[in-house]
Symmetry: C2
Subunit: 478 residues, 2 copies
């Protein structure tokens, strides 16, 4: 007997039904609907939707770094190497990259782990950053860091002790983690960041979380997001040492999501690789996965899709298994790899493109720093709002006190209070931010995440809209 | 107590240890080693390695289609839109694609399923191909077809009947399937293609395979590769109708790997979408996943990484779950999407680029047709070789009779006879082909897969090398 459908919500992989990704969730769908309504001439109390849901710099008007795009265009269309319109160092770069492609074509597959030149210079970048050894053999390129984070998390899908495997993640977290754990069927074990201490990571809380989880599951790995997303804190060195010791003592594999390492605003960034190296044995012999991306930092080329992981000190058989699984997917995009090469090996002083490159990079950094300060002070000036200092990343994650009457109104609509708040904000101002519940938050607290990437005028408009909305909201729900 | 390593071959995801991907396996590793030896001046009985292991046209000297690369370069570097060196239709195309990118930047994320323009024209391509309705909503772009095949197979990972879920695949098959099933922990159920009848697909064999498997597992889906990889056959329409009826009767989800649909040599290609449509209800109401790619066909842009799946008539909740899981990975590379757009909507007669485009495309087709005929006749002229006609794809999969003495010699080395043969071929001639055991073959038969993509001289050299090697091999192992 033939069923109506072969695949139904009852017999499809049930993990897929549990995947949530708030950054592209219902709020964004409604925002897109509103955009279409505006196009059709539907009257709204605002002229356009302001997207602040996703860390997508170019979508918010940031201009690409000229050198990167020149290299990509030259690599795609080598006839342009004869054009006088491109600087010599961009041409040399494209030639070097093409020399590393089979038959000098970006249309040929690269090795699964990426072009040798890109991996070598990524290792050099890490050596310079950390003052620690780094080998190209440990660098794997992917289609964005997300692709690689999923590949690394896949290693832990194994019931080795009769208890389901689990991974510790911070709350609030970037929902790539919760979504990927759900898809892979790994248990998510939450530890809370301490909002009162600037989103610090308290090792006592790690201990509490691990202890609580250990009866029901087998925790295999610990995810740290530094700089924090959505929270924007940068870990202190001392805090990192405590975390490393914690992971060591409990035999946890450390996944360091360091994709915002080039978005540093006000506190120095230390990589886990460096801290472990400087701590010496046994910590310098621990396994580690550290992620970096083309999509963030000053390049912020989200659409080109490239990321990398440095995956160190794996057991040989484990590394071989990781490589096999990667090989089946062939290779990451070669043009993305070319762009990523420009990040790990940017133009240097004295090279023809350096001045323009340095100016463009400074511009990105200046805008980010300005917006971070403005977001911090604006949010802290709105009654009922509080916001920690934004030391890195490209987000603010303010906390909002929501009156009991508003919470009741939300429940009446079948929404969480922060969902209700963000949806009302969207409907009344066109500003699209993501409710804190999409990232996780301490029960009873409410937040939203907004990007701080808009141009100055857009940003001011957004801040004004949020303030005005909130004051009205408080009148409506006293 | 702290273990030496957190992750070991004993506690890593055991599925990863089972992943094999022969196309990038031990033979290729040895080939790369030999290349390095040659560079160092080690004497060999040949001057260079001839890679015939992977369907990578550009790596074998095929030149890219000019229009595709122009569009990609223009989209990456929009300043070039002012240059007189690009034809107007390439500029218009790049502008249309940029108009579909947020803030006109390929550096912004696209929607997870891909740019609206690319999905719309992909649907138009399918309507024109099939004379059947096609909706952009059913088209999902990915980082190559592999990425999407894995995503679709993930839907079947669920134990719904107390028996482990399973997927039927042809033998011989493309090892993406066996590798991905292994990683996902899906049971692989083999059905054999009939070598004696030109690799035809016999429905009796499908019935036999399903019956045999059903006691131990729950078969959820049926994979068909058409045109065949590694086998190069193109299914007849009548055969396809039988397959559709078989899938219908047994409630199997049909995955049609149709990535070689633009590599048609001597027999007409019909898509499963078209055949099902023309069969009418109930077959025209069945679910279907049909895959296409930028990496094959006349474009053959492997390194740019783009593919698509048309995923039709899914239950709404299932489609939503599929979309959620895709959203977590953000989006496929936008430049790859731009290139794929040129495949589903190539230059048309009367447009400035059409003549050059048509000439380049004809050149690719002519070379493939010539090589297919030459491979077929050469292989059938070597004693002990037999090779079916190559009607589509870019591979030959000749069968080789290996003398008992050679089989013993292989066993003495701990190798399968076809591995031994291919390794000897590599060591003595530099020709790198993949043993049939990497794809699967009827027990007791031996094959290898070679690409037929080389330039005429290279190809002749390869054929001569194989013939000479084989005759010597027969003298050594009579």
């Amino acid at each position: 007997m033939r069923l109506d459908k072969c695949v139904t919500v009852d017999n499809v992989n049930q993990n897929l039904l549990r995947v949530r990704y708030a950054v592209r969730g219902p709020i964004l769908e409604r925002a897109e609907q509103i955009e279409r309504e505006l196009e059709k001439g539907v009257a709204k109390p605002f002229e356009c939707v302001v997207r602040a849901n996703i860390g997508d710099c170019h979508a918010l008007g940031q201009k690409p770094i000229t050198f990167i795009r020149q290299v990509v265009a030259l690599a795609a269309c080598p006839q342009l190497l004869a054009s006088p319109d491109f600087p010599e160092d961009a041409k040399r770069r494209a030639r070097d990259l093409l020399d590393d492609c089979i038959e000098s074509s970006v249309g040929a597959y690269s090795p699964s782990a990426g072009l040798a030149l890109v991996r070598a210079d990524a290792a050099a970048y890490m050596r310079a950053r950390d003052g620690a050894p780094a080998s190209p053999e440990d660098v794997y390129l992917g289609s964005g860091a997300s692709d690689l984070i999923k590949a690394v998390l896949t290693m832990f899908v194994e019931n080795v002790s009769g208890k389901p495997p689990a991974v510790m993640i911070p709350i609030p977290q970037y929902p790539l983690f919760s979504g990927t754990l759900a898809e892979l069927g790994l248990v998510q074990v939450d530890y809370y960041l301490d909002e009162e201490r600037g989103w610090a990571l308290d090792v006592g809380e790690l201990e509490r979380s691990l202890r609580g989880a250990s009866a029901g599951c087998h925790v295999r790995a610990l995810v740290i997001i530094n700089p924090g997303n959505p929270t924007g804190q940068v870990l202190t060195r001392q805090n990192m040492e405590e975390i490393v010791k914690f992971a060591y003592e409990h035999g946890l594999f450390l996944l360091a999501d360091e994709v915002y390492q080039e978005n540093i605003i006000s506190k120095p960034f230390h990589s886990f690789k460096k801290v472990m190296h400087e701590m010496g044995p046994p910590y310098s012999q621990m396994e580690l996965a550290s992620f970096m991306t083309l999509s963030k930092g000053w390049a912020a080329e989200c659409g080109l899709r490239a990321g990398l992981v440095e995956l160190v000190r794996l057991q040989a058989g484990v590394a071989a298994a990781f490589r096999s699984a990667r090989a089946v997917m062939q290779c990451p995009t070669v043009l993305g790899q070319c762009a990523l090469h420009c990040v790990v090996r940017p133009p240097r002083a004295g090279e023809p493109s350096h001045e323009q490159f340095a100016r463009e990079r400074r511009g990105v950094h200046r805008a980010l720093t300005e917006r971070a300060a403005a977001a911090h002070s604006t949010f802290n000036s709105i009654p009922g709002y509080s916001c920690n200092s934004i030391d890195g990343s490209m987000f603010a994650f303010p906390r909002i006190e929501l009156p009991e009457s508003a919470q009741r109104a939300a429940r009446d609509c079948g929404l969480l209070p922060d969902e209700f708040y963000c949806l009302r904000l969207l409907e009344e101002t066109g500003v699209c931010v993501i409710p804190g519940s999409g990232f996780g938050q301490r029960p009873g607290t409410w937040h939203f995440r907004t990007t701080i990437l808009h141009t100055r005028d857009q940003f001011q408009h957004m801040m004004d809209s949020i303030r005005r909305f909130h004051l009205q909201f408080l009148q409506q729900y006293p």
